[in-house]
């Protein structure tokens, strides 16, 4: 497992070094109004939503599932909170709005879980329903408008700082909780068991359905928190664009991190590195000034390279060369 994480880690370091080469001040950190300010801080702050969603996605993928609805769920969370806050500036309203949004997200997760575990629909189809319909719900909530709010308490979630950005602190807290819950208890093993063979696990006494149900609810709640960050970062809910395609970024982060889409084994550290690679990639594009017309090609090349070096055949070829060169 350690070896498998080596390549994504090297890719991340290479990307960061590329930034350093182009912009020598990239690693520069300074205190600004009582918080850290610098390129690396941006990577952490903007990468937090992707990391959170990727965490939820990791567990879903570990059960051999996939959740395409996370982007729409994120949009709903932002929309519900901003509409609830309205013109109010009070912290209580902000918290009530966020709580309301997260409860709603949990319900949406229950819906996904019901379709997958209850009705036995293929996860990709089941969550496609909410991916399409969810954005419509978000539009309905905001009436198709960008809802702007002015609430200091709400701003903290996505744009606030406690030395480090609040958003990354939340994401790391969730990462810690998940790591504890799945690696220090039997839960992780049960999830992997369900991913390897749901039927066999059920016969062995594992409550497969409950486990599947739980991971979808968890993924939806993660998506909800990420949606709050995205919307809070700009103090506005944009039902159309908030969390658009973030499900793809999240799946990519999980895959780069070495978790197999076939279910079973998963790596939380891998997901963390994967999410950081994706955000660093975006930041790199802006920093080194890749022309917008070729941005997607640039990203594609990096992703292909990262995936290739992880492929067993490519790695075999690389290690062969390492041996071959000195002789």
């Amino acid at each position: 497992m350690k070896n498998r994480l080596l390549w994504p880690l090297l890719a991340l370091v290479a990307l960061l070094l590329l930034n350093l080469a182009v912009t020598p001040s990239f690693f520069a950190l300074r205190m600004q109004d009582g918080h850290l300010y610098g390129g690396l801080v941006d990577v952490l702050k903007n990468g937090a939503p992707t990391l959170l969603i990727a965490l939820g996605m990791t567990l879903v993928i570990a059960t051999r599932g996939i959740d395409l609805s996370v982007g729409a769920v994120a949009a709903i969370a932002g929309a519900v909170t901003c509409v609830h806050i309205g013109t109010s500036g009070s912290a209580a309203t902000a918290f009530a709005g966020m709580a309301l949004a997260l409860v709603l997200c949990a319900v949406l997760g229950l819906w996904n879980g019901f379709l997958v575990a209850g009705l036995g629909i293929q996860p990709i189809i089941a969550t496609l329903v909410l991916m399409t319909a969810g954005r419509g719900v978000a539009m309905l909530v905001t009436e198709g408008q960008i809802v702007t709010v002015n609430n200091t308490a709400y701003r903290q979630v996505g744009a606030g700082f406690v030395v480090l950005p609040v958003s990354i602190l939340i994401a790391l807290l969730v990462l810690g909780l998940v790591a504890f819950a799945t690696r220090r208890t039997a839960l992780g093993m049960l999830i992997e068991a369900v991913g390897v063979n749901p039927e066999a696990s059920r016969l062995a006494g594992v409550r497969s359905r409950t486990i599947i149900w739980t991971v979808y609810v968890f993924a939806a709640v993660c998506a909800g928190i990420a949606g709050l960050m995205i919307s809070s970062n700009v103090s506005a809910a944009d039902a159309n664009n908030a969390g658009l395609w973030i499900e793809m970024d999240a799946i990519l982060a999980v895959v780069i991190g070495g978790t197999s889409l076939a279910g079973g084994r998963y790596s939380l550290t891998g997901t963390l590195i994967g999410a950081l690679i994706i955000q660093t990639l975006t930041t790199t594009v802006y920093t080194i000034g890749v022309a917008p017309e070729v941005t997607l090609v640039f990203k594609a090349i990096v992703v292909i390279a990262v995936c290739l070096v992880q492929a067993p055949k490519a790695r075999a070829a690389l290690s062969f060369r390492k041996v071959a060169v000195p002789s």
Binding site: Q32, Q145, I146, V234, N240, T287
Partner: protein
């Protein structure tokens, strides 16, 4: 008592208004049957677009034109489907704002064969065959870019570093607003665009790109954002960097939606070039002419202006969007 009077007054006012409306309807009726218009909207992606939709719906009602409206949710295939269904329903005229510039020839040829005139609104298409549509009503995006460039040239001295937040890559407004701006600042070699990236016309996009620019560019004097939303995102990023938007870094945007105008009035944006969504009235006039078989110019530009901070303060209370 006062409540009663106002109720009565509003009832009287309302009936007067509806009377006006029906009067207008009768007028078009006399010029030969009711006109039905099929309108395929891009979506409801911004406050600008919503104002655009509302203007078209309201003015259609006022002009007595029966409107069939569809929302494509930013997808070309939805728009093509909507246009095909309008052709089948045999509407008198089709109007639409193309999501993208290319790929319209087939469906517009179908409309042409069915003898249904087509009016483009807001965005143009890229086709060699100009007979596919009667006219294009919309803003001149290049001109908007020029207005932004003109203001900067007139209001700056000494070396000026500009960062540009582009719209969605490949979208007509992004290409043209960039072109017009560059055209004008070319006259002053002191003004340099030091970085230019797409922020996808969204606030989070604008904020993220601006955050990166603030770290990678040693000196930024001016932000030129292709729409208000990206400008608003940039304001957030500039504030987080401990600088004052509008003073330390000046901001020019295009659109003039409410949130943008508010920021302009607050002094956080310095100059906004208007991109007017209220083209409903002009569209209905054109539609009547086209259906009646009258000649219309191939290009009709919507009426729009520019706003400085002082102007924003005076017009803000009456803005509709």
């Amino acid at each position: 008592m006062l409540k009663k009077i106002t109720t009565v007054a509003s009832v009287v006012l309302l009936s007067a208004l509806t009377a006006c409306g029906s009067g207008g309807g009768a007028e078009t009726g006399s010029t030969g049957g009711t006109i039905t218009m099929g309108f395929a909207q891009v979506g409801a992606e911004s406050g600008w677009r919503t104002a655009n939709t509302k203007s078209i719906q309201d003015e259609a009602k006022a002009a007595g034109i029966e409107l069939k409206f569809s929302d494509a949710q930013q997808k070309q295939e939805n728009q093509i489907k909507a246009i095909r269904s309008y052709i089948q329903q045999k509407v008198s005229v089709i109007a639409f704002s193309p999501v993208v510039e290319t790929g319209w020839d087939t469906v517009l040829l179908e409309a042409k064969r069915a003898n249904i005139p087509v009016i483009l609104t807001d965005r143009s298409i890229d086709s060699d065959d100009t007979s596919l549509y009667k006219t294009f009503l919309g803003s001149d995006f290049v001109e908007e870019g020029r207005k932004a460039g003109d203001w900067l040239v007139a209001n700056t001295s000494g070396p000026t570093n500009v960062v540009e937040l582009q719209g969605t890559t490949g979208a007509a407004p992004a290409i043209d607003r960039k072109k017009g701006f560059e055209e004008k600042i070319a006259s002053k070699p002191d003004i340099k665009v030091v970085a230019s990236q797409t922020g996808d016309f969204t606030r989070s996009g604008g904020k993220q790109v601006m955050e990166a620019f603030l770290k990678s560019q040693p000196k930024i004097d001016v932000v030129y954002a292709h729409n208000d939303d990206m400008g608003l995102g940039a304001i957030e990023a500039i504030k987080a960097a401990g600088k004052v938007p509008g003073k330390d870094i000046r901001i020019i945007t295009v659109d003039a939606v409410k949130d943008g105008m508010q920021a302009l009035a607050n002094g956080e944006i310095n100059f906004i070039v208007e991109c007017n969504p209220l083209l409903g009235k002009q569209l209905m006039e054109l539609a009547k002419k086209v259906v009646a078989g009258e000649q219309v110019p191939e290009r009709v530009v919507t009426e729009e202006g520019t706003f400085t901070q002082e102007q924003a303060k005076t017009v803000l209370p009456q803005r509709q969007y």
